[in-house]
Symmetry: C2
Subunit: 580 residues, 2 copies
């Protein structure tokens, strides 16, 4: 099959040509279900990001369409998600006050910068950079973010004014505001939260109990949030609760997403550059992990670099259509997949559905209480909170545990950007630390064989004048000195040694620092009359050593196998009296 | 031999007890020669650091004594050195103007902070941190520093006022000042520089030609700088060149080092924290590499952590006795070693010699021209400039080349702190990048043996339904995703595969991210009916996998050897028609 050259950058050309009626029905059903799910979610995440509700709808329309053109996942649903919305609020809060025009403008700039970065990473094929976010750090970060998000929404449940961008400040602010709790708001908030928790666990069995089919019950249960929205909106309207102090969404402009131009004023850009980079990476990691998990179920492949391009286009779309940073969401993508989405066309249909909603339904949202949106958010994010990662990391690897704990504490106590940065820095630092002490084993001959094993673990034969060290890792600057120290520590305690063999079977690479360490070892050994040999050197490493003229300076030999080295060197020495 | 417990932290207790007459004579000779060498050097490096000349002498007295008590090197000579003095000037320039009391105070603070950091690193055994400065980065940094230092001293050779902290700024400033060149200063500067270059290469042969013995000629040749100092001082005094505009050292206070208290004002400390850390690391690296090279010649060992304590004590001593940051110098240590220093007592005698000089000789230094000191510095640092590192790195490893070039360019163009930071960041980044794409080979059976080799390099037997991948590196967060991608890319292109074996002979470690990748691989393979097996898993890794309940979830088996896996799996499949 000849694939069109453009299809690499426009996957739609690939799947679009083979589009059939049957696929259409799967896609359309999935789109309907996801649309119903996304209406309250979009409004809620806009509120979480500190933006007017319509921004949430806008952020779900053009971005979805662009991702459908450029993305490679067949099931990913793109739009505002909880963690990215929280990060958006945290970074915009530093440059403008919520509710101002500058704040909404900064949101466009943030989406534009993030889109440009994702696009650039995709074109430069830098997708692998996301791998430096270790799984435990991501888990810790998402758990801490979930706690922060849920706490931040308590003010909407209580109907009070409270702020704070860290957990201690939020809790202190809520505590002070507690006496001003609005009873009506609290009733709606608790009612909605309780209903949503119940719906999440019990609605499907209840519907089945009423005789509904399994699939229909499954799909109808997804409408729980919509039921909460309608019921609470009706209650506010019917009982005039707005006059009793219940905060409502209010007037939402009716119409399709506007064309907006983000500001690229230098001071705004420089203030948002780092936040945009962090949002891009976190958003990409969340999106790609969902996309890959879903693709694997159908033995399809996701192209990470093309995914970056798809998400980049989606964010640029958000920047020019009144939105804010978006990414592929976990819950909605799973729903999309389960509901039978076969191609990105499902996303396009969802965009149409949300466009219709923005055009037709916004007047109905006037009396929607913020408490209901807060309940939607709280129920959604509490499923992200998973403290078992702490046990798991503790049991499996202490380094991971340290990184998770630091990520969680810094995210809660200092902020989201500091938290994710601390996690990355710590996990990279701990890895470097471990790799700076490579495993090196002193080996001897297993009697009756040609095999060499660790003298500490096996009964082996050694020669008092021959020291053989097996290096179990590639040599580079951070561990080269370690090897040097090891050789000379060993020699300083054992003056009988006349030959040192470094067994390089596991050395895949060697850098200039390691070469210089080998040269130093060779030269210093020569000064004390000890010869240095190598054995089992891999081809590419051998080529490099040759090119650097190391082999001609080497006082000893390079042996193809450790057995050759043993045969040549063991017992070869005239037994001199031991030096002391 | 029972070693006193205190001797770990006070090596003097170890070597001091066995001190004998013969050692004394070696130490005293070495001390005399080093003292004569250090007088002009101390004054010159103080000038380079932007401090009054006496600070150079002070920085060579108490620090040497303290190092003699706490250090482990028998030959290291501690005091002001070129690169650290340049870094001192660069960091103090940011907080105070040269010549002010605040500047000298900041120098004490910098030495105090650096001393405290070195001490803390020593007690916490963090000496290995210095390994993250790769050899090429150090070479590039020292070369660039040498160029910066030599350029910075041209103004003293020309007798003009010029400034700048980067190479372009220095050159521009010199160019503007060129018309104001002082001819007398220039004559002294060029004369001294020429003489010193000549003395370095030709004085020893010349003296031997005059019938002097080899050792005496060697030692007398070291006095070249002292000759230049005396001759130029005499010339200025005799011909009244001070009145002709030749800048001189001027009044130097006579007496022993004063007791000084560094300021630890919070804003000063916070401004100097990062510079102090960089100075500590660079100074430690310079010092330890000299100390280790000299110790190896006598098959002695240096304890890096105790060295940190010795250098920390030396810098704290500098902070409390009117000095500035110090470390072990290369040239002077080699001289000390060659002149027969046997123990740190040589250092103590040098301190006594310099104390006498500070007490008795300072009036003689009044008419010493700055141009002579500049010549001393230029001749000393040009030997540090070694651009061959560029060729070497280019030929050996392109990643190292990138790191060296960046270090040199950033040091010259932006500054010393930015340069060393860029070098470290780049070399760590490039290493992580490489290790994020581990070598993984698809292997097959070498016919007639039980060995498995890369299918791309050897003629081997494979089974179309069995995929065996040998992982040539430990698995961790940055490369776990790579393995996952590789497995699924391979499976997406070959639907015949029914069993995947991961051969873990080179996997020494595994972290939580890698475990989760393995779990994901296992789960996703299960969804498509493919079983995952492991072979040749090392003991510690096996223990961890067991603890994490991975083995019970594994769809396949763990085989002790790849041969066992092959026997169990190859040809075991009912030949199904190939899926497409």
């Amino acid at each position: 099959m000849k694939v069109h050259a453009l299809a690499r950058y426009l996957p739609v050309l690939d799947w679009g040509r083979g589009y059939r009626r049957q696929t259409l029905s799967g896609d359309a059903t999935a789109a309907l279900i996801v649309t119903i799910m996304l209406i309250p979610q979009s409004l809620a995440y806009a509120m979480l990001a500190g933006l007017p509700p319509e921004a949430g709808l806008y952020a779900s329309i053009v971005p979805i369409l662009l991702y459908a053109l450029f993305g490679t996942s067949r099931a990913l649903a793109v739009g505002p998600v909880a963690v990215v919305s929280l990060m958006t609020a945290a970074s915009l809060g530093a440059v403008a006050a919520q509710g101002t025009a500058g704040y909404a403008m900064a949101a466009l700039t943030l989406a534009g910068l993030s889109g440009a970065m994702l696009l650039a990473m995709g074109v430069l094929r830098l997708g692998f950079l996301a791998n430096f976010l270790s799984h435990p750090v991501i888990s810790g970060f998402i758990t801490a973010s979930g706690i922060l998000i849920a706490t931040s929404q308590l003010r909407n449940i209580l109907g009070v004014s409270a702020g704070g961008d860290t957990l201690p400040k939020m809790l202190a602010s809520l505590w002070h505001a507690l006496p001003t709790t609005n009873a009506y708001t609290l009733a709606i908030g608790l009612g909605a939260t309780g209903f949503l928790f119940w719906a999440r666990k019990r609605l499907k069995p209840a519907l089945r109990g009423l005789g509904m089919g399994a699939l229909a019950a499954e799909r109808a249960a997804r409408a729980g949030p919509v039921v909460a929205v309608f019921a609470s909106t009706f209650a506010v309207w019917a009982f005039g609760l707005e006059a009793r102090g219940v905060q409502i969404v209010g007037a939402v402009p009716q119409g399709l997403p506007p064309f907006t131009l983000p500001s690229f004023a230098p001071e705004l850009v420089s203030a948002l550059l780092l936040p945009a980079a962090l949002i891009s990476i976190v958003g990409f990691v969340e999106s790609i992990s969902v996309a890959q998990a879903l693709a694997a179920k159908k033995r399809q492949r996701i192209n990470p670099d093309q995914e970056l391009i798809g998400l980049g286009a989606a964010n640029l779309g958000a920047a020019f259509s009144g939105g804010f940073p978006v990414t592929g969401g976990f819950a909605r993508s799973v729903v999309n997949f389960d509901a039978g989405a076969e191609t990105p066309a499902a996303g396009a249909f969802t965009a149409v559905g949300l466009g219709l909603a923005a055009f037709l339904l916004t007047p109905l949202l006037h009396y929607l209480p913020n408490a209901t949106l807060a309940a939607t958010i709280i129920v959604a994010v509490l499923s992200l909170v998973d403290l078992t990662i702490l046990n798991r990391a503790w049991a499996f690897a202490k380094g991971d545990f340290v990184a998770v704990v630091a990520t969680i504490l810094v995210t809660l106590g200092v902020g989201v950007e500091a938290g994710i940065s601390a996690g990355v820095a710590l996990s990279v630092g701990l890895h470097l630390l471990r790799s700076s002490r490579p495993h090196v084993a002193e080996v001897g001959l297993v009697p009756g064989t040609q095999h060499f094993r660790n003298i500490l673990r096996h009964r082996v034969t050694t020669d008092p004048e021959l020291l053989t060290l097996r290096i179990d890792q590639s040599l580079y600057f951070a561990n080269a000195q370690f090897l040097e120290d090891l050789v000379f520590d060993r020699l300083a305690e054992d003056h009988a040694i006349r030959d040192v063999v470094l067994m390089c079977s596991a050395v895949n690479e060697i850098d200039l620092s390691a070469l210089e360490s080998l040269e130093a070892i060779n030269a210093r050994l020569a000064e004390t009359g000890v010869a240095l040999h190598l054995s089992e050197v891999k081809g590419p490493v051998m080529d490099r050593l040759q090119r650097a003229h190391f082999l001609s300076a080497l006082t000893g030999q390079v042996y193809l196998s450790q057995w050759d080295a043993w045969q040549a060197l063991a017992g070869s020495h005239a037994r001199a009296p031991m030096a002391v």
